[in-house]
């Protein structure tokens, strides 16, 4: 076994030689026993790193995940979930009502352009009215009334 092969196996398979492919196990053990000091040192570092990772995984978190903390999260989540459920139900009812009213394809096909036309027409109409009156009156409503409605009528 070459140092390169050993190194690759160590990185890919970890430091438990028992978990390496069986064809390499015996060879790897004898290689390690007689390996140069630098490779042995690297091996020990890899073993230490694995140990540290395992050890830190077993160390309880701070603050600990105790039943009080869990209960608080569960209760909060359930409360929000209940609200969400209600909101979804309301949303579904609203969307069902919307589809009942406007879901008809004919309504959308003819209704939407008609509505757009109405808005456009009103807007243009309003502009025309304004342009008719503009030369004679000030822009505010009171002046308009004062111009067209004689004082005697009050």
């Amino acid at each position: 076994m070459t140092p390169k092969q050993f190194h690759k196996l160590m990185e890919r398979r970890g430091t438990n030689i028992d978990l390496w492919p069986s064809v390499f196990q015996t060879e790897a053990r004898s290689f390690l026993a007689t390996a140069p000091q630098e490779i042995q040192r690297e091996w020990r570092r890899a073993v230490t790193l694995e140990t540290m990772l395992t050890q830190s995984a077993q160390t309880p978190l701070s603050p600990a995940i105790d039943s009080e903390r869990m209960e608080r999260i569960v209760e909060n989540t359930l409360a929000i979930a209940a609200q969400t459920h209600q909101a979804l139900k309301t949303g579904n009812s609203l969307s069902a009502a919307f589809y009942a009213l406007f879901g008809n394809a004919r309504v959308i096909r003819y209704g939407a352009p008609a509505l757009l036309g109405l808005i456009l027409g009103l807007s243009l109409g309003a502009n025309s009215i304004e342009s008719v009156f503009y030369p004679y009156v000030a822009t505010d409503l009171s002046s308009l009334i004062a111009y067209y409605v004689p004082m005697e009528s009050f």
Binding site: Q37, R44, L49, Q55, S56, T59, I65, I73
Partner: protein
């Protein structure tokens, strides 16, 4: 319909024995009890993963809560096709929420900063264990996101290698590469701090 009526009467204790997929089915129908059972089952591990990923217990609590709310609102859309296990899907949600949280949060307010470690442990072993965990946690936190996700799920969750790959949406060989790069980076970082040589790597 008969099944639905039956399931609503089922107690939380009886549901404890149910598989995740069955609980999800119930949750999609708005069953709070099933939701509670699923939460209690997966909360400790998901909270642990989130806390290790974001390094802040308050954020971890919020992430776990948000992940479960995603389960609640998305249960109807989730379908087990034999390939997608709930657990791997759920951890993917948790990891993505952690990454999003880290991206959004550039600064950490002082009152949210993690508590300092208790300076009065009972024994030297405890100092050593806690110190090792803290150093390791710092080193893992400094990794690029993908490597950090891979290392966290592989070492700190109950997922197997192939489940971790599924949760991260990568192939098993891609996960191997992430783990190799992650361990290499951790080794380099701990060596730079003189820790690996000091503890066990000394000639």
């Amino acid at each position: 319909m008969a099944y639905e009526t039956q399931s609503k009467k089922t107690s939380a204790k009886a549901m404890d024995a149910w598989e995740d997929a069955a609980l999800i089915e119930e949750i999609s129908g708005g069953n709070h009890r099933a939701f509670q059972v699923l939460m209690r089952r997966h909360l400790p591990m998901s909270l642990g993963v989130a806390q290790r990923m974001v390094g802040n217990p308050t954020d971890a609590d919020e992430i776990a809560q948000e992940a479960f709310l995603k389960v609640w609102t998305g249960a109807a859309r989730w379908r087990s096709d034999g390939q997608a296990q709930f657990k791997t899907w759920f951890y993917r949600v948790v990891i993505n929420l952690c990454i999003d949280r880290k991206r959004k949060k550039t600064t950490e307010p002082l009152d949210e900063a993690e508590d300092a470690m208790d300076p009065s442990p009972n024994s030297f072993d405890q100092i050593s264990t806690q110190e090792t965990a803290r150093l390791m946690s710092d080193a893992v936190n400094a990794l690029p996101e993908r490597q950090k996700s891979a290392i966290t799920l592989f070492y700190y969750s109950d997922l197997s290698g192939s489940e971790t790959a599924q949760a991260l949406n990568v192939s098993v060989s891609a996960l191997d590469s992430l783990l190799v790069r992650g361990r290499r980076a951790l080794r380099a970082r701990l060596m730079a701090l003189g820790i690996l040589d000091e503890i066990g790597g000394a000639p």
